[in-house]
Assembly symmetry: D2
């Protein structure tokens, strides 16, 4: 963020010898300056993962030409790949319900340019945060959700997301379950923050579940949303210590601090193309 | 917060036998219902510390009468004591410079009533956050500080703090050093968040100091402000892991997450009368 | 441990006014010097919990007489109570299988008197650690367990535990499931260390389950053993961060560090009478 | 450890384009299978660091020939490099005084083959652990240190270390200060565990210093020993939470759990050639 413009190449392919040499060889041939690089072999899946940042002005061509020149090698290695440009801000649509901690947190990070993104709009099933969001110059859409209007409501969400050319949809304590259609339409693009240390306490009221079981740590999980509730690939998690004196209300309060931090970290990894999804798991090149 | 109105008695005295029995005996005599109680004997200082929450409506009298009735026993035990009422909101004045993370965080907690306080005003040496603060309906005072106007500037801060009947002054990443007069005038009332794990890296640019020393964890410290820079009694601290790949800029970014959490926790302990200062140390009844 | 001899009173009772006053009043009447005291009201269960350490030589009587004198008050308050003497070492029987990390760790703590206990014997379903245990002067019993001899084997374990007047039975990575009879016969006396952050990953091979789910933290849980596998009251837990590069074998290795620390902490709380069981939960006065 | 034999190449050089391509190109040319690889550019120092694990039997030659073939490229890139063979166990000499926690911990890890090392001997300034060490079949040398015999004592330590062909000398809570000669003779080979979170609390009785300052977390630091006390490059650190109720003795006890874990982690990184020293800092490829 505080650096020169760069391109980020992420890729995975079947494991074999010479992958790094071939890919970095291509970059070196064109005098590309590598700022950061990470590699990982998943032995079980026999698959290779990589992420490489190249200084944009060290290369003799722009992204489109990179794509053309690189394609033959990518084909040869059977790479599943993408490349992004740090100068193109990602467009992040935020969904929220009635709790403000994640919303305030994300807007503070956006305001200070810690998150170098565009926020084309915020969507909520309640109208509470309209004033706050609009004060920041961000459009706010109130899309109420009732037991009867779900298909229409999520069709509207999908329309808003697409109309605003969103790259990423963040459920920042959005307390409704998205329609399966919406989840399936945007794999690896919808992030949720779940207020438990998954796989413990799936579903509703996880802090109350934690209280009943008598655990000594509570947590939060940032994961990609799939059609199966709270079962998507995990990006980031963290926990905080509690004890017998903490009521479920205390846990809710402590939990908020973990939720917003874990969501912000997971979102950052996602936006910086540090997360590669593989089956129901992730490789996170921190 | 989610409970009935209660009184919080905090006290310390020379250690002897029978302290708990006498104090809780007084409460029991008047049929007081104890919600929470904590006791600590400091062997080195030979001093006893306590904090007791009593349900307000379990007692036959109000705070003023409690004070009168309790005074003889307090004198006998040589108690240094105070009692507060959960129904009386504390008044917290916030000071900030150009970084928004702690300000947004505190206002979100105030907005959601997680912090059950009044914020009579925000004071800053820059004008940047006027709009944001005023949008929340909170008065904003711009008090510029230059090498030449320090005495007048801090006299103005003191005037604003007193005029707004502030109980607590929070330096939420306020990047100037307060005048010794101001510090001395309000012992145990001014909280600062220092961006290092004290006593490491006192003073300016602690993350750069941490980078140079090559530590593997960075931290933040919430402490009471005294006339001696970064030397006041510590209330709360926490750390986060970094590694060789993190630049000072990365550390600044990670550090913010620790800073706002540690400040919020320390402030909560302070506001709930959980912090008893003793010499340059604290007893924190979490 | 580094202090004068003391008695530890632990108790719980239905909540009402005056409990602390009455109990500490009794102690004060007899000039008892309270070293440490903790109280907790469980609002949901409407039950009160306490733990009080009294200096032995500040009282005019010994434990037996304390019991007699205190009984009327205890009856009046409907206390469920016990009192122990720091001069009487608890007798801890250790059970182990083929992994040494918890065994070495516990013996090091016993050797250095960090754990001020007697270890009357170690019981194992394998003979591997006979030499190591006996070198420390501790009797070692090899009680093999096969699919066919379980009832006899656990009858033998029970006989050894009772014959050695054990207070506590510690499963220090004992990889067999105890018989329900043994569990039921010693409620609140058998501690297990489970190699996951319960309630996640109950049962066999939790690290492999964690690997498959792709979590970012793994943990360990010290809990009392009940007849239901991995469902007993939790005493202590902790976690450690992992990432995509960690294989199940790596997790097993990292996990050991958490397991031994969590077991040692949970055991210490138990031995110092800091753990009060209530239903399937604990109050831990750390 | 649980893998096939492999070679580990570690290297650093001035930063330029094409480094990864050239080095991995060399490996690919010889059909080397890369198991793990890490790269880091230190922008400030303008220096590049790398660590690559290559499967031994994927290469057509052994280590000696690798060295010969690789030398021209290494020279061209001005690499400061080394390569090690996972089949050659490192030889680790342990020094200890009167506290057993790190010694028990290291021997348990060695016994279980978690640490795949040889321990040619243990050296101590006290005789206490002779029996324990010798029971494990490891030679024990008692080298007393008095104010008068330091030069001779450390000459003897140096002789024992060299005679046993030690690769690494671990100060596992060895409570004497090594002679500068010994430190200077083995740069990057002597590891110490310091019982504070450096740079806080350098020197003697750090837990007492921490108690006096009233910090809320205490820590431990594993670092390379240099001639300047507690100032060497840091490899690993960690902390644990304490509070006002903890005496210096309690801190000493808690601290031990951190010390042994941090030492074990730091030692593992060192033994697996994951630590590259650069000035007074380290790059640790975890």
């Amino acid at each position: 963020m505080h650096r020169d413009r760069f391109y980020t190449l992420t890729a995975s392919c079947p494991d074999r010898t010479g992958i790094i040499a071939r890919v970095t060889g291509f970059i070196a041939e064109h005098h590309g300056w590598i700022l950061e690089s990470s590699f990982h072999a998943d032995d079980e899946a026999d698959r290779y993962f990589m992420r490489i940042e190249v200084k944009a002005d060290s290369l003799p061509f722009m992204l489109a030409e990179f794509r053309t020149c690189f394609a033959p090698l990518a084909n040869e290695l059977a790479l599943d790949w993408q490349i992004t440009d740090s100068a193109v801000k990602k467009r992040v649509v935020i969904m929220v319900s009635k709790q403000e901690h994640c919303l305030y947190d994300l807007l503070a990070r956006w305001q200070s340019r810690e998150l170098n993104i565009e926020i084309p709009c915020v969507i909520s099933n309640h109208a509470d945060f309209r004033g706050f969001v609009e004060w920041h110059g961000i459009p706010f859409h109130h899309v109420p959700v009732t037991p009867d209007n779900k298909p229409q409501a999520y069709a509207e969400v999908q329309r808003l997301f697409e109309e605003s050319h969103g790259d990423t949809l963040v459920l920042a304590r959005y307390m409704q379950i998205l329609s399966p259609e919406l989840c399936v339409a945007h794999p690896g693009k919808i992030l949720n923050i779940h207020h438990s240390f998954l796989p413990s306490f799936v579903g509703a009221k996880p802090y109350h579940q934690a209280y009943t079981r008598g655990v000594t740590l509570i947590g939060a999980t940032c994961h990609y949303v799939t059609a199966e509730l709270d079962q998507g690939p995990i990006i980031e998690q963290d926990v905080i210590r509690i004890d017998h004196a903490d009521s479920p209300d205390d846990m809710v309060r402590y939990g908020k601090d973990i939720e917003k931090t874990v969501l912000a970290r997971g979102l950052r990894y996602h936006l910086e193309d540090r997360v590669l999804v593989h089956g129901n798991k992730t490789v996170v090149f921190r």
